[in-house]
Symmetry: C2
Subunit: 339 residues, 2 copies
Amino acid sequence: MTESGRSIFFSSKPSISACASIAGPKEGKGRFGDLFDIVLEEDLLGQISWEMGESEMLRRTAELCCKKIGLSISDAEAFLSGDLNNQIIASTFAARALEVPFFGLYGACSTFVESLLLGAMLVDGGYRKNALCAASSHFCTAERQFRYPLELGTQRPPSAQWTATAAGAVLVSHSSAKSIARITAGTIGKVVDRHIKDANHMGAAMAPAVCDTICAHFKGTNTTHKDYDLIATGDLGWIGKNILMELLKEHDLQIPDEKLIDCGASMYYAEQDTHAGGSGAGCIAAVTCAKLLREIEDSRLKRILIVGSGALLSWTSSQQGESIPGIAYAAVLEGEPNE
Amino acid sequence: MTESGRSIFFSSKPSISACASIAGPKEGKGRFGDLFDIVLEEDLLGQISWEMGESEMLRRTAELCCKKIGLSISDAEAFLSGDLNNQIIASTFAARALEVPFFGLYGACSTFVESLLLGAMLVDGGYRKNALCAASSHFCTAERQFRYPLELGTQRPPSAQWTATAAGAVLVSHSSAKSIARITAGTIGKVVDRHIKDANHMGAAMAPAVCDTICAHFKGTNTTHKDYDLIATGDLGWIGKNILMELLKEHDLQIPDEKLIDCGASMYYAEQDTHAGGSGAGCIAAVTCAKLLREIEDSRLKRILIVGSGALLSWTSSQQGESIPGIAYAAVLEGEPNE
């Protein structure tokens, strides 16, 4: 390992030149409802299944992202995306419709930040002029995939999180004169497993990986929480966020509560009955695009750290009695210095 | 799109400094049986399930790759891998055991070449000193995942391919003095769908994507088949390979039959009753590591093009009546000029 360990640096500071977010009806009634570019009225999007609905949501988000700065989707030089479905079909079918050179990724709910890091390398390294980095999730596809068919009406325990129906996409570009934010550094995830086996307790499964990545990031980039206006974690939910705060204290990292938000824990109002908060690959993707990047563009935030977290289980591994490994990727987003 | 379209160039010519392959008992009795580093005697590898067996095979392959040049797995700076299982659990559980910074990928049977391209960017771009690029597949996990439980004894149609139980891993490095081969260029895949719906006819589903990528690669890199000693496609099987030859002719590309091999079509002897040949993410991975890289190292081959192909279906998309989109990634591997 190099001195920087798992951290990487983007010397050209690739620009996020556009971003877009689409969210479902329930998410539209949540805390960030006014901020999403589009709030869906129904979650099938005119398709025959939730899976194809999710794929259509992702496709529309990617197109909207390009359209916002006057580009056509054919101007995108790469599409890096993943989702929670078996064999990431929401992304592959979106890529079929978009016809953009495609890299399929899987990092569970951390996929958006995994995508951002690889997209930034593609652009910073000069391999592509731009890269469309995206992720999606859908409540109905995720329940079918990881838990039980919705039709069963299974009761969800209080520790369960609500998979957000949402997608987010950013266009990472190096030639753009105007940028919303710049990606300057990041830290690659490492799989951490603390032997949680409950698929309805994802926050607990992922919190150790988030703690591990934050520690590795601070060390690798020689920064502390004081160097960031905000640290936004993926979708730990409020139980997972509390566990993270405890774990950080054990590592002598006292991050002030107001400086650390969790996208999942913040997405819904308490009365929306999502139990431990939101989750899903679309959660941090949509919140970053709808809220965090906007606040950087408006100079309300200067420099933030986003940490996407993923629970690396499958229905098969859970049935075989395996525990749930977690992973987390971190990316540094900065505003333009002169604005 | 830039002039080079979907092609990318690695100016530092990252080196493949080590490679390793492990294959199952049936593959060990096939054409390349003598070439794999390890041929397994049984396909569970002492684990409780085929999925965990596949993960263990991948883990051992990755470790062996590093060990071959005297490195420990902790010297690897990134692990890029994927497989055919839901939520790529063979790779994620291998990554848990290996404890190397991890990027989870999904490109179905094209994953190995997707991994090679991204790994080469990580190294060529200076983000990592090295990257371990890998993929695996397992007959028993794939049948359960995409078709029927083996216990059903379902008869396989003649167009069906046999998912290889195999894994391959290479260490891409930029600092290595000695290299087996160098990665000099590549072409990113694009999803192509010609509306094949038969999950037992994967070669037909993937051949159009392979044709599309070969055409894009020749155009993007300004080369023809004459610039390569060999073109090795992923796992079209012999039916898919025949379709590819027809499609190439339609594009006025007459590649001599002896210059184009398909890893899947070549892996087994006819009497092994695999019907249309081999397939699986581990197929091109293991054949590249066991055979092709060895022939480059021995100067029997100077410059080859490997084209990994993937069928982007899931059980869910098939049940919903969707067709099977295909994708293919290409990478140029060259020997050392002075050897």
